[in-house]
C-alpha cells in the first residue's frame, strides 16, 4: 500500500483496463501497416460494444457476444473499405464519418438494452498458480479475453515479422504501386487488413460492455478508439510497443480510478481528464524525439490507390 493505493490490485486492474484499447490498437496497427488510415476506430468499437452486448444478452453466451462484436466491427470496417478503396474517398473524412455513424447506429440499436447486466465472462482457472502471492493475483486472475488479447498481439507480431502474407501486407503499405507491379492485389490486401482491424476494434468494444463496465450505456467508449489511434503512433507501428503503450494507458486509467476511490481531495472530473492529458503529453514527447529520426509510419499511409494512374 502506497498512499492508499494497493500496488498489486493496481497492476491486476491495469491488465483488464488495457484490454479494450490493446485490441483496438492492434487491429488499427495492421490496417495502418497496409497503408490505410482508418480514423473510425471509435465508431467500430462502440458498434462492437452494442452488438456484443446485444448478442450476449439474447443468446446468454458471452463467447457468442464477443463474436458478434467482432463481426459488427468488421462489417463497419468493410463499409469504410468500400468507400476508401473502391470509391477512393478521402480517408480522413471517411474515418470521421464512420465514427459519427457508428455512434448514432449504436445508440439506435442499444435503446432496449440499457440497465441490463450481461452474462458473466468466465475467469480462467489456473488452480494453485493463482494462489502465488503477488504474481497470482496479477497474472492468473483474469478472464480468458485478457489472455486472448495477448495471444492476438503476439500472433500479429509474428505474422507481420515472419509470415509471407505479412511481408506482402507491409509491402502494400510501403509502396502500393510497386506492390501492384509485382502482381499483388493491393485492394484485396487492404480490404482484409481493414476487416481485421474492424474485428479487433469490435472485440475491444465488446470487452468494454461485457466485462469492463459491464453494461451498455450510450457513448460508453468515451474516446477509447481515439486513444487506440494515439497508441499506434506512440508504438511507432510496432506490435510489441503497442502492448507497452496500451498497458501504460491502462495503468493511468486504473490509477486514476483508484485515486478517486481512495478519496483524495482532487475533484473527480479533473482526475478523469488524466488519461487524455497524458495521451497528449506522450504524443508530444514522442514526436519531439522522433523529429530527426527515421519516420516510422508506413510510406503509403493515407494515400488512395488507383491502378491506372
Amino acid at each position: 500500500m502506497i498512499g492508499g493505493i494497493d500496488i498489486v490490485t493496481l497492476i491486476a486492474a491495469l491488465m483488464a483496463a488495457s484490454t479494450p484499447v490493446l485490441l483496438a490498437a492492434t487491429g488499427e496497427l495492421v490496417a495502418e501497416k497496409s497503408g490505410v488510415l482508418n480514423l473510425g476506430v471509435e465508431g467500430m468499437m462502440i458498434l462492437g460494444a452494442v452488438a456484443g452486448f446485444a448478442t450476449a444478452v439474447t443468446t446468454g453466451s458471452p463467447v457468442l457476444g464477443f463474436l458478434g462484436g467482432a463481426v459488427a466491427g468488421a462489417l463497419l470496417a468493410s463499409l469504410f473499405a468500400v468507400l476508401t478503396q473502391l470509391l477512393l474517398s478521402n480517408q480522413t473524412a471517411t474515418g470521421l464519418a464512420l465514427t459519427l455513424f457508428g455512434l448514432g447506429l449504436s445508440a439506435l440499436f442499444g435503446k432496449g438494452f440499457e440497465g441490463i447486466r450481461p452474462p458473466p465472462t468466465t475467469k480462467l482457472d489456473f488452480g494453485p498458480l493463482s494462489e502465488i502471492p503477488v504474481l497470482g493475483p496479477i497474472l492468473f486472475h483474469h478472464d480468458w479475453m485478457v489472455y486472448l488479447s495477448l495471444v492476438l498481439v503476439a500472433a500479429t507480431w509474428a505474422f507481420l515479422k515472419y509470415a509471407r502474407a505479412g511481408l506482402i501486407l507491409r509491402a502494400v503499405g510501403e509502396n502500393h504501386d510497386a506492390a501492384h507491379a509485382l502482381g499483388y492485389r493491393v485492394i484485396a490486401v487492404r480490404f482484409a487488413a481493414l476487416a481485421f482491424g474492424g474485428a479487433l476494434a469490435g472485440l475491444g468494444g465488446a470487452y468494454l460492455s461485457l466485462v469492463r463496465v459491464p453494461q451498455w450505456t450510450e457513448g460508453m467508449t468515451a474516446g477509447a478508439g481515439w486513444i487506440a489511434l494515439a497508441i499506434v503512433v506512440f508504438a511507432s507501428w510496432k506490435p510489441e510497443r503497442v502492448l507497452v503503450g496500451a498497458y501504460l494507458f491502462g495503468g493511468i486509467t486504473a490509477l486514476q480510478l483508484q485515486l478517486q476511490a481512495a478519496g483524495y481531495a482532487i475533484p473527480v472530473h479533473l482526475l478523469s481528464m488524466a488519461p487524455y492529458v497524458i495521451t497528449v503529453l506522450v504524443l508530444v514527447i514522442l514526436s519531439a524525439t522522433h523529429r530527426h529520426g527515421a519516420p516510422a509510419a508506413p510510406a503509403a499511409l493515407g494515400r488512395s490507390f488507383h491502378a491506372s494512374s
Binding site: 480522413t92 473524412a93 514526436s287
Partner: protein, 359 residues
C-alpha cells in the same frame, strides 16, 4: 466491368450535383432505415423535411431553424478553411465548450452589475477561449510535429471534463439549491443574447454566422491568403516554393476555427441555452464537420448545408414526438449523408466507363 478513368480536371457539374444526389440517396436509405424501425418511411421523410418548413406549426419551427443552423454554420465556416489547407481540426466541440466557459465566466464574475460593455466583453472572451483551445494543437504541431487530429480530439474530452468540473464547482449557482449548473444568463439582462426579431430565432450568433460566411468567402475566393491556403492543401510542395510558411498556416487555421467555435459556444450559452451545465454541449462541433463537407468546404455551400442539417435536427425532434422515432435515428441519418457524399465525390474526380479502360 466498370473502370474508372481520372478526369484531367474535376468536373464542375458533378461538384454541384453530388451534394444534391447525396441528399436524395440519404432520403432513400433513411426511408429504408425508418421502415426497418417499423415507421412509415414516406411519412417520416415528410415530417423531417417538409413539416418544419410548411407544416401546421411551421412558424415556430422556422425560428428554430436559425437557432440550430447558427452555431453549425459558424463552426463549419472556420473548419472548412483548415480542411482546405489539409489541417484537420476535429476538436471543434472542445473549443465550443471552452468558448462558452470563458464567456460565461466573464458574465458570472460581473454578476449582478449591469453594463453595455458586458456582452461585448463576453464575445471577446468566448472567441479567446476557443482560440486558446485551438492554439494548443497548433503549437504542438508546429513545435513538435504532433498530429493535430489526435490532439484536438483528445482535448474535447479534457474540455468536457472541465465543463463538468465548472458546472459542479466554481461556476455553480450559489442560489441554485445545490443543483449543478450555473446561473441562467437569460435572466441577466446585460449578459443575455436575446432574439433580435421576435419569432425569427435570429440572435447575435446567427448574425456572427452570416458575417463568418461572408468573411471566409472573401478570404478564400478574393484574397491572396485564401489562395495560399488552397495551394497548401492541394500541392504542399508547390506552396512551399510559393513562400507559404506551414507553421503560420497551421496556427492561422486552427486559431480561426477555434475562435469561431468558441464564439458559437458563447452565443449558445448566453442565448438559447442560457446555462453552463455538464451536458451543455450538444455535438454541434462534430455535426459541423458534416456541414463543412456537405457544403463542399465553400462558404456559400456551408450556409445551405447548415440550414439543411438544422432542418434534420428539428425534423428529427418532430419525428420523435409524432412518430416515436428514436433521436439516434437522426444521427444515423446524418452519418449516412456524409457517407453518400464522400462516395459520390468519386464522380467529380473520375469518369465511369463500361468495359476495360484504354490507356
Amino acid at each position: 466491368m466498370i473502370t474508372l478513368v481520372k478526369r484531367p480536371t474535376p468536373s464542375q457539374f458533378w461538384a454541384y450535383a453530388t451534394p444534391v444526389l447525396a441528399v436524395l440517396a440519404t432520403m432513400v436509405a433513411g426511408g429504408i432505415l425508418f421502415a426497418a424501425l417499423g415507421k412509415d418511411p414516406i411519412a417520416a421523410i415528410k415530417v423531417i423535411f417538409y413539416d418544419p418548413l410548411f407544416g401546421p406549426n411551421a412558424a415556430y419551427f422556422r425560428g428554430q431553424l436559425l437557432v440550430k443552423a447558427g452555431p453549425l454554420i459558424l463552426i463549419a465556416a472556420g473548419l472548412a478553411v483548415g480542411f482546405r489547407a489539409g489541417i484537420w481540426n476535429i476538436g471543434a466541440e472542445g473549443q465550443y465548450i471552452m468558448g462558452a466557459l470563458a464567456g460565461a465566466s466573464v458574465a458570472l464574475a460581473a454578476y449582478p452589475a449591469e453594463s453595455h460593455w458586458l456582452f461585448p466583453a463576453m464575445v471577446v472572451a468566448g472567441a479567446l477561449g476557443g482560440w486558446l483551445w485551438g492554439m494548443i494543437p497548433a503549437l504542438l504541431k508546429t513545435a513538435f510535429g504532433t498530429s493535430e487530429i489526435l490532439v484536438s480530439l483528445m482535448l474535447v474530452y479534457v474540455a468536457q471534463n472541465f465543463l463538468a468540473y465548472a458546472a459542479f464547482g466554481p461556476l455553480k449557482n450559489p442560489e441554485g439549491y445545490g443543483f449543478p449548473g450555473s446561473r441562467n444568463l437569460q435572466q441577466y439582462p446585460s449578459a443575455h443574447n436575446p432574439e433580435l426579431i421576435a419569432g425569427t430565432g435570429m440572435h447575435w450568433g446567427v448574425v456572427a454566422a452570416l458575417m463568418a460566411v461572408i468573411a471566409t468567402y472573401i478570404l478564400m475566393q478574393r484574397h491572396i491568403a485564401g489562395y495560399r491556403i488552397r495551394v497548401a492543401g492541394e500541392a504542399p510542395r508547390a506552396a512551399r516554393f510559393a513562400g507559404v510558411v506551414p507553421a503560420k498556416l497551421v496556427m492561422f487555421c486552427l486559431g480561426l476555427s477555434g475562435a469561431f467555435a468558441g464564439l458559437a459556444g458563447l452565443f449558445e450559452v448566453a442565448g438559447p441555452n442560457g446555462q453552463i451545465t455538464d451536458s451543455f454541449n450538444a455535438g454541434y462541433g462534430f455535426t459541423a464537420i458534416i456541414v463543412a463537407f456537405l457544403g463542399r468546404l465553400n462558404a456559400i455551400g456551408i450556409l445551405l448545408a447548415g440550414l439543411l442539417m438544422a432542418l434534420t435536427y428539428i425534423g428529427g425532434d418532430m419525428a420523435q414526438l409524432m412518430l416515436g422515432l428514436p433521436t439516434a435515428a437522426i444521427q444515423v441519418f446524418q452519418g449516412m449523408l456524409l457517407f453518400f457524399l464522400l462516395g459520390f465525390d468519386l464522380l467529380t474526380q473520375y469518369r465511369l466507363r463500361l468495359g476495360r479502360a484504354r490507356a
